[in-house]
């Protein structure tokens, strides 16, 4: 289409150049154009957090982000967390604590947790509950999610990502 816009984004450390429809969200672009289906589309209206990714290191909702506005940005999705086959401490904590049932909310929870810990907002269970409230879990795995974030935060020293 004529009004497609050329966009350069660095996704999980790789520069990607794509022409996007200005109406496309970052969720759709990651999933349908770049094949990164780890990022989930839940409500598609900013309410559930399933689509959470990091843009320039900050957690945001990719369903409320037009892909054109991510031009020049660095995007990290759940696929970009592990390194050399080694799971990220947050991913490992989720596995070890059974922090999911259906798993649909999990990529968003994990991305949000990575940022929550890096922000220094995971120093107590109450603080984790408050700062993870943007991620809804339909299976109500909340106690295990809070435990996982606390465990990973302890391992990561509460600060470094």
């Amino acid at each position: 289409m004529s009004n497609h816009v050329a966009v350069t984004v660095r996704v999980n450390g790789v520069d990607r150049e794509i022409e996007v429809d200005p109406r496309a969200t970052l969720t759709e672009t990651l999933r349908d154009r770049l094949g990164l289906t780890g990022t989930k589309k839940g409500c598609d209206r900013g309410e559930c957090g399933a689509c959470t990714v990091l843009v320039n290191g900050r957690r945001v909702l990719s369903c409320m982000t037009l892909a054109v506005t991510a031009h020049g940005a660095e995007v990290t999705t759940v696929e970009g967390l592990s390194s050399g086959g080694e799971l990220h401490p947050v991913q490992r904590a989720f596995l070890e604590n059974d922090a999911f049932q259906c798993g649909f909310c999990t990529p968003g929870q994990v991305m949000s947790a990575v940022a929550c810990i890096a922000e220094g907002h995971a120093t107590s269970d109450d603080e984790i509950r408050e700062w993870m409230s943007g991620n809804i879990c339909r299976c109500a795995a909340y106690p295990q999610i809070v435990a996982s974030v606390a465990k990973a935060a302890a391992e990561l020293g509460g600060a470094a990502r």
Binding site: V60, T69, H121, S133
Partner: protein, 324 residues
Amino acid sequence: MRTFSYHRVSDVDVALAALRQPETQAIAGGTELVNWLKEGIEAPARLVDITGLPLAGVESTPDGLRIGALARMSDVAAHPVVRDRYPVLAQSLLRAASAQLRNMATIGGNLLQRTRCPYFRADTALPCNKRVPGSGCAARHGDTSAQAIFGWSEHCVATHPSDLAVALAALDATIVVRGEAGERRIPATEFHRLPGDEPERHTELRAGELITAVEVPAESGAEHSHYLKVRERVSYEFAVVSAAAVVQLSGTTITGARLALGGVAHRPWRLGGAEQAVVGLSVSDRPALLAAVAADFGDARPLPGNEYKITLAQRAAVRALQAA
């Protein structure tokens, strides 16, 4: 969704020129606008991305605080001066939305968010004078539980959902806007419009204008201040009712107060009468504070189904005063 062209701007005058074109909308954090595009509430032909404008700073000067319109909610809440000297402001921001949304959402966009009236946001077309002027108001004789108790009209009974706006009203802040004709300064208490017979005009911002900053005067004396938000769950929810209080104290005696309510009208509702009546009272004298606040509810007109907001708002105001 109707398709649109997309333009980035990095200069305020260029942005203003672009916004003067017909069917053009600015996009900042996008957390409202992208929903409006999806729901068909707005269908612009052109989007102007204003996030590149140099309006994202937070400055603390002897005159007070100047917050750029493009500053993100999370960054403003985390600013050391905001955190230490303007608790009511930091709390209103941190008790809004979620960490992800606050990382995206801007101060200007927050003030320009629209009502959460379920009929206004409905997927199917319902009578709503804010959506389609003249179509009627489905809420007036529908579900009124979340609607206004002050300042509504037969044409619209909606409330404004911004938490920030309520804190800014209690701080006597000013919204600075710029358009073709130059700069205008609008008191935060007057920025949002009561519906009257033009509910489709949500705020005093005119077409083609940008919000450039929000200014909080130093003399607002916000050290003793508090934002109390009552919601249906403890986090990540809009207010049913909220109260912002800024208090001056001598010992435990109130020597000055400013009080604004949220969730009760389509603008932050200042309780001017109560602000005077609480002077001289002890902050710990709850019955006297409640009587002073209740006496300022003479203009309240609850709808069938939201009478509970009167009791709730009065108690919220007292608790905010006591927590300040």
